[in-house]
Symmetry: C2
Subunit: 685 residues, 2 copies
């Protein structure tokens, strides 16, 4: 069979995914709106979100063009390159990566801001309709992400079938966009969320989505730019990075078709899965989300097994992909175990909160630390298992096995993203229903939708951190492969941890995710501080606002502006720091220091990402558990303490934690791309 | 010159140190007490502390005997050993290590509980007298620790000059005692501290050391068992581990005398240093502490340089030790930069606390993450620098250089410990003066003493984490050396991070310090919860207690009991988990997995220890800054927020953070000792 068969199948399936996405979009547009008020608020959110994305993209466009210029000039150095055209093509694939990732996020978010209004309205007809609208809104994101990822990767592979650098460059484009989109969106959303909570819930005692609060629209905008668009860019980036890393290792083995087969089957399984995820009146939407995932997973298992048998792929390769899938599931469920509001750990955090907020923080933080362990074991076990399984095939197959575990874990990402994007959509739905007065019955439905979204979100986060972990292990192997090609097998030693350069790199690498996440959280802190002051100003200066006098409205746009300006100011430094330190380590310590650096970066990155995501999730759900009437319910000491916990958890779980994923991927890709430069120029290397 | 010269000098100097310690003790005993009340409270604290230590030691004795039996049976397996006597000797050196460490801590703490009463009384005569009493109390601890460490190491080396395993076993004895002493003491002290603060300061609004509070004696006992005895065991352990690791690498090179020379000169420098640390009336005690350190450091520099020249040691070895000393200083000062209450970062945390406790937590946590970076760079730079400096000497000299950097950093530990133990002593002094009504003038003096103690403590913590980091790097090299001796140079490959077993070990290793510290903090949380309930019970059931009716006294002993029982219940599981996972990884993954495991453990251990210690220090000092009258002062919103921050920081900086040091050392020593077992029996290795 032609080597081009599976990439072409992938392209065909991508267009199929786009078609389904478009069908869902038309479905949503065709639904009625409940009243004019909700349309107005929906429009405010959509316009705010789009305005932010446009401004952000202008800033990022400059960065992307600058980075592309550097790639054209230096990868490889243009005065030593074999073909200047090749350098230009590298720059172009980089830009394509950024544009594809950005476009998928943009489309997904636009649809999400339509879906929220329509879902709120559908909630008047009951759970079944509301769930379908909300889920289909999320599914567009999932299909857009995976479709454009596969489309881009396949086309680049078809054009440059023998040089993985172009796909690495495409992947780096996607990652660098994701790095900033995730950071910028994460800062925006938590700025607004924290400021709205502190001034509304805590100071005034008004409900979360009260339209009197000047930050309420910014808060809902944030859900879209942070949790939908940012997260979409993040998953796009992991997916394409996994494919790129696998391709680097596959080429010499002539096993590239397997990667596209697995990815294509994953997309097909997701395309079927999104149609069967439905809920009957009176049933649990959480179960429906899970059922969709199970069915997708099962289909993926069967489809890939069948394809492996029919097209005579090595079954060990298939096994490696399945190991990854299994590890993803284990990690997802361990996240759920720690963060589910049904679980005893969340209840224990809620209980001890009666003694005050310090106990809330300590309990959540300790549990966050604990929660990292099963996931670390899961990643470690998957890497070891896939390696050992493929080792008998000889040579580089063992490392290729690890990269396939990452591909396998990410293959059902279409469905996972759909579930995840469902979360912020239904979160918005709740807010919109409250703001536009759709009544108690609708709120009951939206609450049910929302609770399911939270659990789905926790699972996805575990999943995406696990996937990023395995992907960067694969990228480390890809880096080694790239170096072997540059330096030759004989010159390259192993990356011995007792080599002082490797060790040096490792210690520096450990520090980078810490500094990176600190910078983002400090950005949120500063920005939220500014917004709180603005809200106080509005309450002081706009007469009748606090009291809710009819016709008096806050200046929503000022808050959106503050969040936007602040996010744009804070989003570049952290990302540039991460890339800059990588280059510094490379040019000082050389290729061995970079290997250690990547390992250290992965280690502390995965640890901190899991800690922050899971601790944040626990605090959020502990608050919800208290709000459901336990330990004194709303207004009690336990409630106040859990609100403080939740506020701390917000930038943990929605800004810093998930951005670390992208940071470790970006750093790994930079290292692979710049490997030749580090090998040629370095102080100690 | 005889190989035994420097060990003998070390032994002579140890006895000199003991003599000075005894002289200081007699000096303290000779000082008068201010009144009967302070003697009574002092006795309560001393008895509580001694009772805790006795009970703890009974539990630990069982563990130590059990572990010694395992060592006798399996290290090496008794059915394969060349000499059963050797195995028995290994067990005995292990017990000696534990006993030496425990005794030094016990003596130091006993003296500290005398020094606190006498210092409070000396404060009536002014700052000069009070400082001398407080500092000399701490100096006894420093001299006892370093003296007994050198004595034990030298004697064992003289008896077994060619087999470093006995010193490793001695070191493991010291470390396993330290692991539990630090954890147990840390849980005890923070249980009492948090419970006393929450019920006293927060609920009732009474001062920190009000005798009405049933937890007030337990709180002061905690300072002694946690910060004096526990910390002493910790530093003893780092010191002996550094010497043991260096010895493993030195033996083949015939360079062992240098280690004892450097350690002996360090002790000599500290012995002089403790006499010149004095303060004039109206001058700053903080400066006096620093001056003592500078003088000791300068003396150490000169003495070791002179000895190297006179006794013809390689100057590159001397240089490696100096690199370590320099790195220690850099790390110490970077800790100070982040945690000093004069610094702008602490002030910024205090300022943003006006917006509420969530901001306090986020700001401190972010800064804690940031603060890890300079120290990581310092450790990485010291290791790389020492390696490169000694590389021209050939062979294993390069790795030996790293171990000498650790020895160099720890050489002035006598002085550092003296400064550190000064902290909890003067903290107690403040409490005692308040409880026994020594008046405003005395409180002014004790406040000045206390502020200096806090800064010294922050520097020491940075120092001891840095030292532990370098020591475990040296232990990793020692582990490699041990394996080379067991397996032979030809069989042993490097520890390649792309070896899946190494990588597997690394990911598991990363998780262990996280789980370990989580377990300790959860222990504090649970235990403090119990004590808060007991205090509430006493306030409810003892009539007149809350109101401070004369003659009515709380039941102090019940609180001490709760802290003791709780600490003993919580101290074993975390330590056993760490040792158990190490053995599991070794017996499953074999020697390569263990190498990765150690590297991962060091990485996340150093990161988490720095994060927790520095964040905790910042919160503590931000509170003090607000209490000094800034941002509304005592009772303001900022004050309430910083109290919550401080409460979170308490187990961070005094329980979990510093215990991680010991955890990584223990795990490294277990690995070196069990290397032979892992090489012989493992599932995948």
């Amino acid at each position: 069979m032609s080597w081009a068969f599976w990439p072409i199948v992938s392209i065909v399936l991508s267009f199929g995914a786009f078609a389904i996405g478009y069908y869902f979009y038309r479905y949503l547009v065709g639904l009625p709106s409940a009243n004019e008020e909700i349309d107005r608020f929906g429009r405010l959110i959509r316009e705010g979100a789009m305005a932010f994305l446009r401004t952000e993209n202008k800033v990022l466009a400059r960065f992307v063009v600058g980075a592309a210029a550097i790639i054209v000039l230096f990868v490889p150095p243009i005065w030593k390159t074999e073909s200047i055209l090749g350098n230009v093509a590298m720059g172009i694939t980089y830009i394509f990566g950024a544009v594809f990732s950005g476009t998928a996020g943009y489309v997904g978010m636009r649809v999400a801001t339509v879906a929220n209004v329509k879902t709120a309205s559908a909630a008047q007809k009951g759970l079944t309709h509301a769930y379908r609208a909300g889920f289909r809104g999320g599914a567009v994101m999932g299909l857009a992400i995976v479709g454009s990822c596969l489309l881009g990767s396949s086309v680049i592979y078809l054009i440059f079938p023998n040089d993985p650098n172009y796909l690495l460059s495409f992947s780096f484009g996607a990652s660098s966009l994701a790095l900033f989109a995730k950071a910028g969106g994460g800062i925006f959303t938590k700025t607004a969320d924290i400021a709205a909570d502190l001034t509304g819930k805590v100071e005034l005692g008004i409900p979360e989505d009260d339209p009197r609060n000047p930050a309420v629209i910014a808060d809902n905008v944030g859900d879209n730019v942070g949790d939908v668009a940012g997260m979409g860019a993040d998953l796009f980036d992991s997916n394409v990075a996994a494919i790129a890393a696998a391709l680097v290792l596959a080429l010499d083995l002539k096993q590239a078709p397997f990667i596209f087969m697995a990815s294509a089957m994953g997309l097909l399984a997701s395309m079927i899965g999104v149609f069967v995820s439905n809920v009957k009146e009176g049933k649990s939407p959480g179960r429906a989300l899970n059922r969709g995932t199970y069915i997708t997973t099962g289909l993926f298992f069967i489809l890939t097994l069948a394809a492996s048998l029919v097209f005579k792929f090595e079954l060990r390769l298939w096994g490696a992909a399945m190991i990854g899938l299994l590890a993803g599931t284990v990690i997802g469920f361990s996240s759920e175990l720690f963060t589910s509001d049904e679980g005893k750990r969340v209840k224990a955090v809620a209980r001890i909160s009666q003694q005050g907020p310090a106990f809330t923080i300590l309990a959540g933080f300790s549990n966050g630390l604990l929660s990292s362990f099963p996931s670390l074991i899961g990643i470690a076990g998957a890497a070891l298992g896939a390696y050992k399984l493929c080792q008998p095939l000889g040579g580089d197959y063992a490392l290729y096995g690890i990269s396939l575990a990452a591909v396998g874990m990410l293959s059902i990402i279409g469905m996972v993203t759909a579930n995840d994007a469902y979360g912020p959509i239904v979160d918005n739905v709740r807010g919109l229903s409250e703001m536009s007065g759709l009544g108690e019955e609708v709120l009951r439905v939206t609450d049910e939708l929302d609770a399911a979204g939270n659990t789905a979100k926790a699972i996805t986060k575990g999943f995406s951190i696990g996937a990023a972990g395995l992907t960067v292990i694969a990228l480390l192997a890809a880096y080694h492969e790239t170096l072997t090609n540059i330096l030759g097998q004989d010159i390259l030693k192993g990356f011995d941890i007792l080599d002082p350069l490797v060790f040096f790199g490792m210690l520096v690498g450990v520090g980078v995710p810490a500094v990176f996440s600190a910078m983002l959280m400090m950005g949120v802190n500063r920005n939220a501080d500014r917004m709180v002051n603005e809200i106080h100003r509005q309450f002081d200066e706009i007469p009748g606002l606090k009291e809710g006098k009819p016709g008096v409205e806050p200046d929503y746009n000022r808050c959106i502006d503050i969040a936007t300006v602040g996010a744009l100011k804070e989003l570049l430094p952290a990302g540039i720091m991460a890339i800059g330190v990588t280059l510094l380590v490379g040019f000082i310590g050389g290729v061995y220091a970079i290997a250690g650096y990547l390992a250290g970066n992965i280690m502390s990155g995965v640890l901190l990402a899991l800690l922050m995501s899971n601790a944040g999730g626990m605090w959020d759900n502990a608050k919800k558990y208290v709000e459901a009437g336990h330990f004194g319910g709303i207004g009690s000491e336990a409630h106040k303490a859990t609100i403080i916990g939740d506020t701390v958890g917000d930038p943990f779980k929605d800004t810093a934690g998930p951005s670390i994923n992208t940071q470790i991927t970006v750093v790994s890709l930079v290292s692979s791309l710049a490997a030749g430069l580090f090998a040629a120029f370095s102080l100690f290397g």
